[in-house]
Symmetry: C2
DNA sequence: GCTCAAGATAATAGCGCTATTATGTAGCTG
DNA sequence: CAGCTACATAATAGCGCTATTATCTTGAGC
């Protein structure tokens, strides 16, 4: 007798979690209306809204964003992949992104490659597992597989902190070779002729490498000027800067102008010059990149180039929000050049 | 005639997304087995595993973690809430957490309060919307509502970067008053008697405030020693440090020992001393907190106290992973004191 | 009074996966 | 060779929400 076959053996944890149904029951409305209350508050009457708000309050309801994301086939997560969180530049951008996106109730999921571009593909794959509303990547060089994954997923993509090569979708940043140019021009203008670029980890940090390249290129276009690059494989730090200055003075005793791949290096150069009695800027002009928090307060204060990390984050967020607002429409490409600023201070 | 009533009007986007069913079909297995392949690879035969792997590869399958999380009633997300990402301390911890958790395929979702404790509750609420596997909070002071939310949710909680008050669940960090004590002891040992603590944003940064308090307490316990706190409302920076030193010399002309709430402040103090011709350490001993990347390279190199930011992240991750492994078992409280290290350098 | 539009609310069928249970298939034992 | 166990695979019923469609209510217009 097959009659008894389907006893409801189904226990399943049936958590006593508060759901949208509980809220609906308490507000004496249907779950649909409660859902609408969250998604399109204007479509719900004032009376209903109030009842729902009261029920939420009373039950301490916390919506389940995974259920929502699954049903809607897209989450309110924006996945951001940067080389490193410890880098003050990216930290600034991430903070701005988080603030701006947060206003639209978009969540940030952050990952970092530690400058191993090879990992990016896996991070993107994981990111896509959350059906993100958008993905933010750093720089413009990505593996073919990464590009394919993103293209197929049709997720909006913003590439930040670099312009130059073709972009996948949207981009916000500036041209790093122009930074190098600007640095060289500045030193030339100060009458410097024997120039050096001190860099850290240039083989991994492509953007720093492009700055170095732009620097040398611009310098060598000027008459009677020499320009070289000295680099160190370790991440940028004041310690590395001090070492690089030692090497610089040793190999190029009459160097008179130095541009550093970032302010940490420049800080180390300043300290080392103090120790070895090299007068800045009299004998040696020094400039950095980043305008980190200590740069203005240094002794001498540091001439540097300020990348608009905050603005990059804000603009990227703006592009994402705009794109999400017109999801149906033909996506328009957007490339925003945020430029950068040279801050002339005492060290040059 | 009611017969036609339920035409399948249901179109619904039916994305052509690749699902676990597609993988199963291609591997000629059931979806259950494919799911098992992801969750408990050992339970699947070698032959089946291989077929599944091939199908995944061929279809470029990306699992939908939201569907998984919904079905499993818990996600592989660990939500981390720190005061600020721009702060090098927390950046280090977050990086370590991300690395360690990543090894277990746990994702980090990061938020920041910008030192507005009031926001924490909202962030926790949002975090819980993702049914996270664990929540990491900074510090020990949280609103009653926050505590209730977390308690009710039964999610593992780790509080980091501070010990002292009672903890909610697990905690990893150190005692900030002990840092203050250690700093005072060090300066006393160097024969200093007129001590100052220079701090930034002490009303918001409770941990810095506790360091200040510990410092003054320890100093005043010694005979013939005076100790005061001077503070500035802005976030810590070298600029603020320089200003604070100015104020310090003005108000306490015979100060001979200074502890700063962090290395940025101390760096500003060093620069300002250089400018005003105050000899460090001859006339004035200076110490910081943080051992930031420039501290060892400074001129003079900076005596400082190093908080184990990396270790805190690693230990927190370890606790979380251990807890998740024994989810059934009675959760055991864990409080880990990571201590800190005083690094004696030239500035004192 | 009746139609119609606009506005508000409700009913319904999944979203893609996992947990649980059920079924099949060897490989032993005595 | 029945009877059992261990292992491998499959069937099933949701998880909590949203999108879509359907229904109900109201008030205006004639």
């Amino acid at each position: 007798m097959a009659m008894v076959a389907s006893k409801p053996l189904r226990t399943r944890r049936k958590m006593q979690r508060v759901t949208i149904m509980d809220v609906a029951a308490r507000a004496e409305l249907s779950p649909s209306t409660v859902s609408l209350y969250f998604r399109k508050p204007d479509a719900v009457s004032a009376a209903a809204s109030e009842a729902i708000a009261r029920a939420i309050e009373a039950l301490d309801y916390v919506p389940n964003l995974m259920a929502g994301g699954l049903a809607a086939a897209s989450s309110r997560v924006v996945s951001i992949i940067v080389p490193s969180v410890r880098n003050a530049f990216f930290a600034e951008t991430v903070t701005a992104l988080q603030d701006e996106l947060g206003k639209q109730r978009l969540q940030v999921m952050l990952s970092h490659t530690e400058y191993k571009e090879h990992d990016e593909e896996n991070l993107v794959r994981t990111a896509l597992s959350w059906a993100p509303a958008a993905v933010v990547l750093t720089g413009l060089s990505h593996s073919a597989a990464t590009r394919r994954l993103l293209r197929d997923s049709k997720v909006p993509v913003v590439e930040i902190w670099e312009l130059g090569s073709p972009t996948m979708d949207m981009a916000v940043g500036f041209h790093h070779d122009q930074v190098g140019h600007a640095a060289a021009s500045h030193l030339l203008q100060r009458g410097r002729k024997r120039l050096l670029f001190l860099g850290a980890r240039l083989h991994e940090d492509r953007r720093a490498a492009r700055r170095a390249q732009g620097f040398v290129e611009a310098a060598r276009n000027a008459p009677d000027v020499t320009a070289e690059i000295i680099q160190h494989p370790a991440p940028a730090s004041a310690e590395v800067g001090a070492m690089l200055l030692g090497e610089a003075l040793h190999r190029f005793p009459n160097v008179d102008g130095i541009a550093c791949s970032n302010d940490h290096i420049a800080l180390g150069v300043i300290f080392e010059c103090q120790r070895s009695g090299v007068a800045i800027p009299e004998r040696l002009s020094v400039m950095g990149f980043g305008d980190l928090s200590f740069s203005a307060a240094a002794n001498p204060s540091l001439t540097t180039i300020r990348p608009p990390g905050d603005l990059i984050g804000k603009e990227a967020a703006r592009l994402i929000i705009a794109r999400l607002a017109h999801l149906g429409a033909e996506p328009e490409q957007a490339v925003i050049d945020t430029r950068f600023t040279l801050l002339h201070r005492q060290s040059s």
